[in-house]
Amino acid sequence: MKPVPDHLQSDLKHAIRLEWWTLAWQTSIVVVMYFVLGSSQAMKSAWMEDLLGLVPAGIFLLSVHFERQPPTPKFPFGFLRVNSLAFLASASVLVFMGAYLLYDSVSKLIAMEHPTLGPITLFGETIWIGWVMMAALAYSVIPPVIIGRLKQPVSKRLRDKVLHTDALMQKADWMTGLAGILGVSGVGFGFWWADSVAAALIALDIAHDGLRAARVAIAELSDGMPRELGGTKIDKDAKALKSVLEKRHPGSEVRLRETGRFIAAQVTGPHLPDEPAPLEDLWTGDPAYSWRLANVSYAPKRD
C-alpha cells in the first residue's frame, strides 16, 4: 500500500519539506538558547522544550520513510504503525522530562534560590544578560509559530497524527516564549521567584504535550476506533462507516481500527455476503477522506 493516495503526494512532499525546515530552524534556536542559558531556570526549561521540539519532526520523517517500505514476511501488514510506536516512545520522554523539570523548578522555589543574572559582554558592550535571554526567547517563538501554522492544513489533508500534534505543539510555542520572557523580566524587577514559576509552567506544558501525544498514539496502538484528528472523540466519518456496515449486515459485529492514516473494518457475523460491496459505496462521510478506507474484511462468526 502506498503511504498516501496519488492526489496527496504533493501534500506529503510539502509536509516533508516543512519538517526539514522545522529541524533546521529548531536547531538554530537550540544553539542560540544554549549560549544564553545562564543560571535561569526558565531558560533551562524553555531550552529543553525547544530541544524536544525536534523529536516530532524527526519521527514524522522517519515514519514516512518506514511507511514506504513494502511488507516483509516478518511484517506482513507493512510498517504503517511505526509512527504511533515512535510517537508513544517520544511521548513518554516528554512526560518524564516535564515531570523532572517541574520537580527541579519547584525545589528551587522551595529552596528560595535567587537566580543570578549578571552582565554579559557582546561585541565589546556590557549589558544585562536578561536582555539577551529575552531576545533569544522572542526569536525562539517566531519560527515554530509560523511553521506550525503552515503544517496544520497539510496535516489535516494527510490525516497525519504526528504532523498534526507537532503543529499544535508548535502553534502553542509562543506561550513558552512569553512565560520565559515574563520569568526573566520578573527577575529584572527583583522578583526572584518569577524565574522558577515560569520554569514550572513551561515544564507543565512539556508534560502536557507528552500526554497529548501519548493519547493519540495509544488509541491507534490498542486498535481503538479511529479518533478525530487531534482529539479523543470518535471520528465522524468512522461512525458513519460503521453504521453503513451495520445496516448492510444486520446481526453482525462491525469493528473499525486505524492503521496509520487508514481505516480497516472487520465484519464478523453469521451471514456473510457472497459478493462484498465496493468500498466506495460504504463511505458516506466526507468524500475528501474516502481514500482512508483501506479494506473491509468479513469473518465468519464462531458459535
Partner: protein
C-alpha cells in the same frame, strides 16, 4: 477567558520591554543591596585574608564604595566565613581571590577580574563576590571592575 493571539502577546511583550528600557533600576536586587549601600553610606566589605594581596583589594573596594557614594567598612576573614556572612546578608561584598570555576559558585556570584588578561577558569584571581541574585549590585560592581581594567590598560 479570551485567548491572546500570538501577535498581540508579541506586541505586549515588546511594549513592556520598551517601558523597562527606560527604567534605571533594572535589573533590581531582590534583597535591595545596592539601595542599602547607597542609603546607609556604608559598604560592608569582607576582605579574604591572605599573604600580600589585601592592599590591592582594599584599594579596589574603596574605589567601588566611592562610586556608590559610600565608604567601606572592612572585615577580614577566611573566604568560608565571609561568603557565609555574605549569603546571610551581613556583608554587602567580599573581595578575594576566586577562580571563574570556583567551588563557591553555588554560594555567591562573582564579578570578572579587574586584571586585563583573562585567566584560565580554574586559576584564582581577584574578584568581588556578591550574594546570589543581587543582580543590580552585581552589574554595578562588574562595571567598576571593567573600569579598573580600562584604567589599568590605559596607564
Amino acid at each position: 477567558m479570551k485567548r491572546l493571539k500570538p501577535i498581540h502577546s508579541v506586541l505586549l511583550a515588546s511594549g513592556c520591554l520598551l517601558l523597562l528600557a527606560g527604567c534605571d533600576d533594572f535589573p533590581a536586587d531582590p534583597e535591595g543591596t545596592m539601595k542599602q549601600v547607597q542609603t546607609s553610606g556604608v559598604m560592608r566589605t569582607g576582605i579574604v585574608s591572605g599573604p600580600g594581596v589585601e592592599a590591592e583589594e582594599r584599594r579596589l573596594a574603596a574605589r567601588a564604595a566611592d562610586a556608590a557614594g559610600a565608604r567601606p567598612q572592612f572585615e577580614e576573614g577566611s573566604s568560608e566565613v565571609l561568603l557565609r556572612r555574605l549569603e546571610k546578608g551581613e556583608l554587602d561584598v567580599v573581595f578575594g581571590q576566586f577562580a571563574k570555576a570556583s567551588p563557591m559558585k553555588e554560594k555567591a556570584a562573582f564579578t570578572a577580574s579587574p586584571e586585563a588578561k583573562s585567566p584560565p577558569s580554574d586559576e584564582p584571581v581577584m574578584r568581588a563576590a556578591v550574594a546570589l541574585g543581587e543582580n543590580r549590585w552585581l552589574m554595578f560592581l562588574s562595571a567598576q571592575m571593567k573600569k579598573e581594567r580600562a584604567d589599568e590598560a590605559g596607564s
